[in-house]
Symmetry: C2
Subunit: 301 residues, 2 copies
Amino acid sequence: MRELLYDEASYAIGVDIGGTKVFIAIADDEGNIILKEKVKSSPDVAEIIRAIDDCIRKLNIDCGKIKGIGVGVPGMVNSKEGIVIDSPSLKWGNLRLKDIFLEHYKTAIELKNDVNLALIGERCYGGNDSDNMFYIAIGTGVGSAIIADGKIIEGFGYLAGEIGYFLGKEDMMPGKVNGFLEFGTFERKISGSALTLEGLKFGYSPQELFLQYRNHNPKVKPVIEEFALQLAIAIANGVSLLNPERVVIGGGVAESLDCIIDKIREHVANFTPVATRIELSKLGGEAGALGGIACFLKHQN
Amino acid sequence: MRELLYDEASYAIGVDIGGTKVFIAIADDEGNIILKEKVKSSPDVAEIIRAIDDCIRKLNIDCGKIKGIGVGVPGMVNSKEGIVIDSPSLKWGNLRLKDIFLEHYKTAIELKNDVNLALIGERCYGGNDSDNMFYIAIGTGVGSAIIADGKIIEGFGYLAGEIGYFLGKEDMMPGKVNGFLEFGTFERKISGSALTLEGLKFGYSPQELFLQYRNHNPKVKPVIEEFALQLAIAIANGVSLLNPERVVIGGGVAESLDCIIDKIREHVANFTPVATRIELSKLGGEAGALGGIACFLKHQN
């Protein structure tokens, strides 16, 4: 009887661990989201597990009915072995996070880089299902993720997607141009942090910069146009190299980009003859947690 | 008895069809190359097949003992269905080349884009075996190929690797910057054709430009240094995005690059903190045909 119930109703959990917030989502067997919760982040794994347990208790779910938990962590993640190799924002190094979750939950655990997990979420829940996708996340920093032929590309050292280091001839200077743990050349142009710095000159937040652009404020126009140009150059180079069916722009900054998305599309079409579709994410900060759930629904990457 | 013989001795054939030359190579069961031949190319498939048949006859091989033929074609190739979608240099469009070969040879046929096939050759015969590789071919034009997690990335429309269209802010101009069937912005900087144009100013061929650089001719120094810089920018951007274990530079121009490979490595290490190994191809123009053979040895991509 119990086993029948287990078969009939089971749940998937997605956990996106950020530097400041942990986003937890729970879905039923059919992928319907039945809980979303955002809690304060902590480098103490026990505290994160307590927050997940609270969510499970809230829904009165039997732990035996959880078919899997998909976990995203910013930084270098060995998804095959379930190890966080290096996560500067959480100060984790060589942490066998999958094993810790396994011991506590005794169910399937998928551990992934947060941007890769967000792309899986975009693919499954964002209306952007494709076997060939290029995802760019613009938040405090800039990251990207690739699905090619249905599979996430992680790279030899689990560092694929580090487009924050994209550069052009204009970025040349003697010696090291990009180093680990520093903002990359491309990040210094288009990240949320870059926009914050740029906005300070006018007394505007990044969101206000885009609002002012929409309201035809001539002072912010060159700032936003340069942003669109630089983002389009990076997208075009990614498209020429990867030939994705879809490009999705996500992360916090993406929520302000509807006023320039057509400009970006126009630029990219001028910059590369390799055709693609460019969309803004509709999932906002939820993409990662939804991706954690999607790992146990379909398109397991 | 005949079937025993068939099992004991079998052969693999690689055919790299270029715009001007067809390179044919035949290997025994263990991958030892027992024939290499270069013949004039033709858009007439029957003529290409006749050239292959001549090679088979030369070795006195029973056609029943050919376990497979790997064929490379420049342009857009649907490798799954064995169709040449578009090959401008051969003037082929929507050509079911695999079927034509199948009908004639009645054995396994692999049809691939020529740069992808060259990368498979590099991986198997070039001393560069890795599951994560980025291959840049610099010849008349510039192309690239990617192996990620052991698989060739072909892209949604079989156009992945088109780095000839890579661009930076310095390339901006009103309207279309890159179009199909035109030399791309990056190709106009570092291809053999670009070097030929550049060399004309001094009365040197591309090879002579590099020779003069090696001999400290101060006039060609800025030309070759700019070449190294632009190539390093493209490699660094590819490495940041793909995190390959190895980067291999091939194509005709690669044969002149030993005088600047250390400079290129130094640049790339300054441009991206994502580590990689950069090597020059040792296979020259044979990489594609060897890749055709490799399709039937190991690492079937």
